[in-house]
């Protein structure tokens, strides 16, 4: 189970996160479409971490559930947190600049999605993509 931590402090870091996720996705043998989905999801959440979380970090790790290999991303920030997570998820993508951007999309792109957020404390988003 390999794992790598990247800090997300600048927009260049968002690019670096994409590259790191691609590298692991290729290594565990995800299909091209699945690679694209998980890298795009990572890009969305990384950007959220940067723009709304005030910066943070992501842990990129390979996981297994016995039968299959997978990729897990844990994004964390100590930002203002999301007051109404449910609503942020339901609102989905809008062409505005709302916080719901990317969250529901990222959820649809991955197999497993988990979000913890506490106003004043921060936010943690966990994405998992399984192979096959």
């Amino acid at each position: 189970m390999a794992s790598e931590t990247l800090s997300i402090r600048t927009s260049d870091d968002v690019v670096r996160v994409r590259q790191a996720v691609r590298s692991v996705a290729v290594k565990i043998g995800l299909t091209l479409v699945d690679q694209t989905k998980v890298i795009t999801a990572a890009s969305e959440i990384a950007r959220n971490t940067l723009e709304y979380g005030g910066g943070g970090s992501v842990v990129v790790e390979t996981v297994t559930n016995g039968a299959r290999a997978g990729l897990r991303l844990v994004f964390e920030d100590r930002g203002p947190g999301i007051p109404d997570v449910e609503r942020a998820l339901v609102d989905g993508y809008t062409t505005g600049n709302g916080l719901g951007l990317g969250l529901s999309g990222a959820r649809r792109l991955c197999n497993e999605f988990d979000i913890w957020s506490q106003p004043g404390a921060g936010t943690r988003v966990t994405l998992t993509k399984w192979k096959g």
Partner: protein, 120 residues
């Protein structure tokens, strides 16, 4: 800092995006294009994304912005060469790219823009 090159092709401007863009590059491209549409009196903008393996909502917004700004300056925009995996992902993401015309490749994109360029 590197900037994405913009080529002039008659009354069209041609942009080929081949790198994983960071934010500064995106902003620079939007500025450069707007400026060039005016200075070249361009009637059409062709953006080739056939080398882009990832289009997230940020890039999607960029494309929408470019199309919107071009329209205000009386130019049409066509985005060409979207990869199938990218298209599938954008649908799942819920990004519809409204206001952005698309074509399969540069040749078809040019055909779409030709009437606009032909108008005097």
């Amino acid at each position: 800092m590197d900037r994405i090159p913009i080529l002039k092709f008659g009354e069209l401007l041609l942009v080929t995006i081949q790198v994983d863009m960071h934010d500064r590059l995106v902003m620079a491209l939007q500025e450069d294009l707007t400026e060039r549409i005016v200075s070249n009196r361009a009637r059409g903008v062709l953006i080739d994304i056939s080398a882009l393996e990832i289009v997230d909502s940020f890039i999607g917004r960029m494309l929408g912005n470019i199309a919107g700004m071009a329209r205000m300056l009386d130019a049409q925009t066509v985005v060409v060469g979207m990869q199938p995996a990218v298209a599938i992902t954008l649908v799942e993401l819920g990004l519809s790219l409204t206001g952005v015309r698309t074509a399969l490749n540069v040749e078809r994109g040019m055909r779409l823009l030709r009437p606009a360029a032909a108008e005097q």
